[in-house]
Symmetry: C2
Subunit: 445 residues, 2 copies
């Protein structure tokens, strides 16, 4: 293994300036920011967040930073943890498909909190965001697939590097201090896949964000660590992964991995998205309503039935694991957001009736982002569509308007309309902000 | 693998009462407590601790708990971190030889801080201490040697379970809540061996203590996790160790692993103690001085050269990871305390010269607590000794008086004489304390 891997990263972190970022990266950073804030505010009332605050509030430091979508304020370390939890609790945040990393969840809570505490310009903030995400994704690509297959929850184990890199950049760390920050990050991986299905899953990116921020703050104070945390014989890469391709870290950019970030249009696992997309396309093309429909047919990748085969869901959470429910709400409601995966809609008799009219077949020839969907009307007519790349995939990304609509859907009822407008304006004009802390300060309840 | 390993532990944690502990365990808990507090106070002025406080003080919550040997106060989570760092920074704390775990360093800072925050009797405190140490040591024995060989710093990776168990017991968690606490602990292992020689090494047990305490507090608030964090297919045991013997966890006690705890007479890693002991014995027997010596020869267990092979240390911290330095100061200074592992002595030319005369060979037939040491004098004479059980080993333990003397040596100049007496009295009568928080409150500067 090369013996300068950590150094390659620290130089990249230190030297990358906003001015060096091509326009598509700046734009992707802005989309990542808007999507993430929507998720953090939308997740804020979840009992996962409420219980974490209840446990930790007696130990909060000064009210330095906003808890997104909430009235409480906390010190920046607790804010990083709690905003990280709320941004991931709905499983609606961004995804880097190749690695299964949720890139923003560990990085943004750390640097948004930090930007409320120290002076940070919008340009420096965006550069830190990009650098943080590139750092974690390059490391993630290097250890894919061995690291994930071993059972680690990669968003938390790799995310701590992203948070440390981004926070370290905002703190103006030297190359040596950045190496110490990465060393302190390497010593604190967070997350096992065994925790999926419990509140601890969303704890992973939050804690990774908090750990990375802590690492950067300690390094700034001269707290030393290994300068070769990644590549050393007993360093992170060898201890946490049975195989790795370090060229992903040390090779020249592009590719910029942030350009492979993707956003979920629908509030459920990615495997069902092609079916939902097909239903929505047919609904729009043919003016369908639930009453006119005899049957919904779908042919899908086998994994869909491994994960989402619940025939008769009775809770919102079960609805997210039911391809039948997903198809039914897409046709009946023309949407598949948090509302459509809530207890109320899952239990509505009209939706249950339509769910029973959904027939699903599997076909290994259908790709993971693909589906054949057909609607048979009561009169006998049949409309069919083949979804080659579901909306939200890298090949068929959500439009800026769709991301805005998702943001508004997630924050509806949580924020006054004008407040949502203000946050969107701040994010879209982030490169012109004198004070990037304004973003966080606008996002409390 | 058995599917009830986590449950076996949660029942053990919940059900073990002070009244059930045989007298030798209570006595060993008291020795562990005195030894650890001495180390925490002795380490308090170290720049490692000062830099950590400087970095994190702006984020401290209410002054709920004492920072040992310091004037500052912090919330209990930061106190657990910082006292854990200061207790390990001198590498002078207790060690469980079989696993290389420093048992007290993650556990005691968590429960001493907690005892300043909630009402805790001395008996409950001692029971929590024993339960925390048994929990981490049983898990540690189960994954020894594979886990350590992989490169993990086991004190931090396993210590988080000890802290969670002990804090969870003091918080009166139910069996389900204890399982969640262990799950949250499993998701937060801390520590890579690559960090040895930097400040991050002592960060490991401190952060493990803080993480375990956080886990217990979250679990109390209903923050859920996997109920099978240890034994699950993608749980801690399989992900963090290529092999394990779970009988060490699920088998009946005794053995109580705390009875195998040991205390260091010398201010460096235990692996080097047999060499130091041998040098001191030869020095005393033959009136040796550095000037008369041609060569120092040692034959040691292979681990010695895994961990302490730094040939030319340039800082006190590096000196602790140099068997060459350890042998040199034992001969030249007749001692191996904090002073002999300080920057000044490490950089002294006369010590550097003697270090270069040290020759080390490894031999798998030599036990971990053993060493062959020989001195070749310039005139050609050769004196040799075989150390079968180094002083401070389980078979040749420090006496209570030696531990008290070590405590007084470590706290000298840090505390008034009467304050040292008071702490010793509180520890020796801990089982009679109505308020175990008195121990921590007596230990500030």
């Amino acid at each position: 293994m090369r013996n300068d891997i950590t150094q390659v990263l620290t130089r990249f972190i230190r030297d990358t300036r906003f001015e060096d970022l091509p326009a598509p990266m700046r734009h992707e950073a802005e989309r990542t920011l808007i999507n993430w804030i929507g998720c953090a505010i939308g997740g804020a009332p979840h009992e996962t967040v409420t219980r974490a605050i209840q446990a930790l509030a007696p130990f909060f430091g000064p009210p330095q930073a906003t808890l997104f979508g909430r009235r409480e304020r906390a010190d920046i370390l607790h804010a990083a943890l709690l905003n990280g939890i709320s941004s991931h609790v709905l499983d609606f945040d961004d995804t880097h498909i190749e690695t299964a990393i949720h890139p923003a969840a560990p990085v943004l809570p750390a640097i948004l909190a930090l930007a409320e505490h120290i002076p940070v310009s919008g340009r420096d903030f965006l550069a830190a965001l990009v650098v943080g995400i590139e750092t974690e994704l390059r490391i993630g690509v290097a250890v894919t697939p061995a690291h994930y297959r071993a059972g680690w929850h990669i968003t938390g184990t790799v995310g701590v590097f992203g948070s440390a890199a981004a926070a370290g950049k905002l703190l103006g760390l030297s190359e040596q201090e950045l190496a110490w920050a990465l060393g302190l990050a390497a010593a604190q991986p967070v997350g096992l896949q065994e925790m999926f299905g419990s509140m601890t899953k969303s704890f992973h990116p939050g804690r990774a964000g908090q750990n990375g921020l802590t690492a950067a703050l300690l390094a700034r104070a001269g707290y030393t660590s290994s300068p070769r945390a990644l590549e050393a014989e007993r360093g992170w890469l060898k201890v946490l992964s049975s195989a790795c391709d370090t060229e992903a870290i040390t090779g020249p950019a592009p590719p910029w991995e942030i350009l492979n970030n993707s956003y979920k249009p629908f509030a459920c696992g990615l495997v069902v998205h092609p079916v939902i997309d097909g239903c929505l396309r047919l609904r729009a093309a043919h003016g369908l309503t639930a009453e006119t429909i005899e049957r919904i047919e779908a042919v899908v990748h086998p994994r869909v039935m491994d994960v989402t085969a619940i025939r008769e869901p009775t809770t919102g959470l079960q609805g997210k694991f039911s391809v039948y429910h997903a198809a039914a709400v897409a046709i009946a409601e023309g949407a598949a957001g948090e509302r459509e995966f809530g207890d109320e809609i899952v239990r509505a008799p009209r939706i249950a009736q339509l769910r029973r009219r959904v027939a699903v077949e599997i076909d290994p020839a259908v790709g993971k982002a693909q589906a054949h969907v057909a609607i048979v009307l009561k009169g006998g007519a049949r409309h069919a569509v083949f979804v080659e790349h579901a909306v939200g995939s890298v090949q068929n990304p959500m439009s800026d308007q769709m991301i805005e609509d998702k943001f508004r859907g997630l924050t509806e009822g949580m924020l006054a309309g004008a407040q949502a407008d203000k946050i969107l304006d701040l994010c879209r004009g982030a490169d012109k902000l004198v004070d990037a802390g304004a973003i966080g300060r606008a996002a409390g309840a």
